[in-house]
Subunit: 165 residues, 2 copies
């Protein structure tokens, strides 16, 4: 009976507390880990997470990335990268050079110093993450990875489509 279905729906719990609690827990986990990583980056390397992330992006692209590439990969705004890159350039970790054939764009690359510095930071970083996740078994990590993959897809599908890259 349609009435039953409708009634069932009308009487269903009006809220989505379930999803909300999941989101809050997801956020808590991320906040805890991220805060600790930020704190250790500052303590051990006198740097910040955004700086580290930018170096990481460049480290994976030896041929260099434009500011726009970086902005898309880091999921941050364009203007953000401008300032970040400027600071890293002052510190001598990153260099800009023109992209041949396009006078609008410029390629960002790690300097030798930048590569050295990132290698140190990245090794420590990897250890920190392993340390923080040490209480999660390999099986659980596998399950989490898979479930978060579904979550990512769910969110992406619900998002307004980006201007196709």
């Amino acid at each position: 009976m349609t009435v039953d279905a409708e009634t069932a729906l009308a009487h269903a719990p009006p809220g989505h507390k379930d999803e909300l609690r999941l989101w809050l827990r997801l956020l808590t986990c991320t906040t805890l880990i991220e805060g600790e990583i930020r704190s250790r980056l500052r303590r051990d390397f006198d740097t910040t997470l955004p700086r580290f992330d930018l170096l990481a992006a460049l480290d994976r692209a030896p041929e260099g990335l434009t500011l726009g590439d970086v902005s898309r990969r880091m999921m941050v705004s364009n203007g953000n990268v401008t300032g970040l890159a400027a600071r890293l350039e002052v510190e001598g970790l990153v260099e800009r050079r023109a992209r041949p054939g396009d006078r609008r764009a410029q390629l960002l690359r790690l300097t030798a110093k930048g590569r050295r510095e990132f290698a140190r930071q990245s090794a420590a970083h990897e250890g920190w993450i392993a340390e923080l996740l040490a209480g999660v078994t390999a099986v659980e990590r596998g399950a989490l990875f898979r479930l978060l993959g579904h979550t990512k897809i769910s969110v992406r599908n619900a998002l307004p489509p980006e201007p196709s890259a």
Copy 2:
């Protein structure tokens, strides 16, 4: 043989790429959801996530919270709450009053306007989260919730102990 164990360890993959990939995926999920929530809060209510979070904390504590309470619940610094509360006070959503018997502390409470406003925002927020997580089944959500619980414990155990509240 001890040699075998040691050898196995020495020959184990030196990295923890596995944990790293899990962390990056966790971060991506959180960043995607959080970014969308920020964007909708701005679009529909002309407000921000930190403001919303502060209202949410106060909504759950009708008797009021000190700035320090809020700072601990939101896991942000003390000075951060000072500015946040000041802005919300200007907007008339929050009010301060002295805590009887302690001239250092002040209680933060929602005004009537603040309660009204938060009710609107919070209903929308709950719907957004449900919408973004619609592609994750109830069973998966349950599993995620449990696994993230383990993760939270793992991280907390690896963290330096806080000055016991």
